[in-house]
């Protein structure tokens, strides 16, 4: 599978993120193996990352906005190298939304204040603009009535939707999702996936999604990469990856996932 084939419809466009030889070594463990991962993420694409637990998916995602410092390799955001020392990473991060497995809402702030905080302190927007955005994003995730509730008063699915709203209010150029539904009861995953689908179909966001939700991935992914033991083993279109996987380790992984469901 060559790169041109995968990106045939995207040739000519500049990648939003480009990773070169990204390598991560924790004290005694290669989370992302040498010689490292190479990857391009293009505007408007939905990149799904699959792979068994411990294969380095979260590490890869967090390295891309330097929540984890890569051991070596380069990362470019819109052509700018963000791994260089001179860059102010806080200014880059406001363009990259991140949604976590554990929601990570600020527990001491109401839903509204969760969304307001970064708008006030990072974007430093005027109050009327902040209120407009708060209302708008809560409508998008269908939770306007929870504006003054604390996160502890919401269900997991609702919390995750607020987390998505908080990211949307920043108007990022792309959003990372790290297993956004893994901590949810099965009956609550649907509402979160629904919101994520809207982001793609209505708002045409660029997404990078780590997930085990195969039907969802089949539906929205424009490209799928499969990671195993700190390496990208396979990369291809969802039809290829899910319907007739040509790789032995990928086949094993997929059958394991199907068994669990």
């Amino acid at each position: 599978m060559t790169e041109e084939k995968v990106h045939e419809n995207l040739s000519g466009t500049e990648p939003l993120i480009e990773i070169k030889n990204l390598y991560k070594f924790f004290k005694d463990f290669q989370a992302i193996k040498a010689p490292g991962v190479n990857l391009k993420i293009f505007p408007k694409e939905v990149l799904v990352i699959i792979g068994s637990s411990g294969s380095g998916k979260s590490t890869l995602l967090r390295c891309m906005n330097r929540l984890i410092e890569p051991t070596s390799g380069q990362i470019f955001f819109e052509g700018v190298e963000i791994t260089s020392r001179s860059i102010n990473i806080d200014e880059i991060r406001r363009n990259i939304g991140m949604v976590f497995q554990q929601f990570n809402l600020f527990m001491h702030l109401t839903v509204g204040d969760n969304i307001r905080l970064p708008l006030q302190k990072v974007l430093k927007l005027p109050d009327d603009e902040i209120e407009k955005r708060v209302k708008q994003v809560l409508e998008t995730v269908n939770l306007l009535e929870k504006l003054d509730n604390f996160p502890g008063e919401l269900s997991g699915g609702q919390q995750q939707r607020v987390a998505i709203a908080r990211v949307l209010a920043m108007r990022p150029k792309l959003i990372f999702f790290d297993e956004p539904t893994s901590a949810l009861d099965p009956e609550l995953t649907g509402e979160v996936l629904q919101v994520m689908k809207r982001l793609v179909t209505e708002f045409h966001y660029t997404l990078v999604v780590v997930t085990h939700e195969i039907p969802f991935a089949k539906e929205v992914a424009s490209r799928v990469i499969f990671m195993d033991e700190g390496e990208v083993i396979f990369e291809g279109k969802p039809t290829v990856v899910f319907d007739n996987p040509p790789n032995e380790r990928l086949r094993k992984f997929l059958s394991k996932i199907l068994e669990m469901k």
């Binding site: 967090r62 906005n65 929540l67 806080d90 200014e91 991060r93 406001r94 990259i96 939304g97 991140m98 976590f100 554990q102 990570n104 809402l105 600020f106 527990m107 001491h108 905080l117 970064p118 302190k121 990072v122 974007l123 604390f150 996160p151 502890g152 008063e153 987390a163 908080r166 990211v167 920043m170």
Partner: protein
């Protein structure tokens, strides 16, 4: 269940319960009534003391006791001539105990906050972190009494004369050294409390904040500390009570606080019960503080954020 109870009460003639509730004396607020009156009387006592310097703030309580004894033709002084003197003396000791404790906890808190900032830092800060850790370890692994003696004798050369020359009534070098020793000691414990409170906030909170573009100091200020405060308050109030009780050790360097005062009065009147009354004074202060701080904890509570249950 609750509903049927309500009905019975409404139908019945004015039950004592209903009358009590009408006055605001519910089970919950009864203690608060007593407490408020108690605090009010102490305040009145201190105000009176401003105008009549020879007065004792505890006189107000002695009057009240006398008021109850009056119908029987008695007063505290006639029952036992020593009683008013002992009560006044212990009350003076208690107020010094209270002041020393509050002062050392407040001073200790600021010191502890600095220590905690150094301790939670990921960097070594040019050896500062090791020094802070050594400070905490030293004060937590040596007896408080020994620490008080070290401070008392160790600082005598430097501060002894300065403080005597200041000539502030009631503020002797002994009081200074005792308060300082308690402050240094509680700083170590409070630093540890603050440190573990900050570290107890899940890393996901930091990740989310940094991921949104907040700087590390903004993350600390707007995300971590407001949550850590709620974890820190309960053990910190506990520490306040510890200091109050531990402050009895400064009697060893001659600070005439509650314990030393008890000893003096006991020696004067050969009455072991003085210690019992002294203990009662400690109890009232500690219990009052714990009630007030519990209220504070409940005020600070937020759904889903772990705080001690009531």
């Amino acid at each position: 269940m609750e509903n049927s109870n309500e009905k019975i009460e409404i139908q019945g003639p004015l039950s004592t319960n209903r009358r009590r509730r009408a006055l605001g004396f519910t089970n919950i607020s009864f203690g608060w009534w007593i407490l408020s009156i108690f605090v009010l009387l102490i305040i009145i006592g201190f105000i009176r003391k401003i105008f009549t310097p020879n007065a004792n703030y505890f006189d107000v309580f002695i009057w009240i006791i006398n008021l109850f004894l009056m119908p029987f033709g008695l007063s505290l002084g006639t029952i036992d001539y020593r009683a008013p003197i002992i009560l006044r003396g212990l009350a003076d000791g208690a107020s010094l105990t209270f002041i020393i404790s509050i002062l050392s906890v407040v001073v200790g808190f600021f010191l502890a906050a600095l220590l905690a900032i150094v301790l939670v830092n990921k960097n070594h800060l040019y050896g500062l972190k090791i020094l802070a850790q050594m400070y905490v370890d030293f004060f937590r692994s040596t007896p408080l009494l020994v620490q008080i003696l070290i401070v008392y004798f160790g600082f005598a050369q430097i501060f002894g004369n300065i403080i005597r020359n200041l000539n502030i009534p009631g503020f002797s070098y002994e009081v200074f050294a005792g308060t300082l020793a308690l402050a240094l000691n509680t700083a170590a414990y409070q630093a540890e409390i603050i440190r573990s409170g900050i570290l107890a906030i899940p890393t996901g909170q930091t990740e989310a904040a940094r991921g949104l573009g907040l700087t590390s100091s903004q993350t600390m200020r707007y995300v971590i500390l407001p949550q850590a405060i709620r974890l820190i308050v309960p053990p910190l109030t506990n520490e306040l009570i510890n200091v109050l009780l531990n402050s009895s050790l400064v009697s060893a360097i001659g600070v005439v606080e509650l314990t030393k005062m008890s000893q003096t009065l006991q020696a004067k009147y050969f009455l072991w019960q003085v210690y019992l009354i002294g203990a009662l004074f400690y109890f009232v202060i500690a219990y009052t503080l714990s009630k007030i701080t519990k209220k504070l904890e409940i005020k600070l509570r937020i759904p889903g954020l772990g705080v001690a249950n009531d």
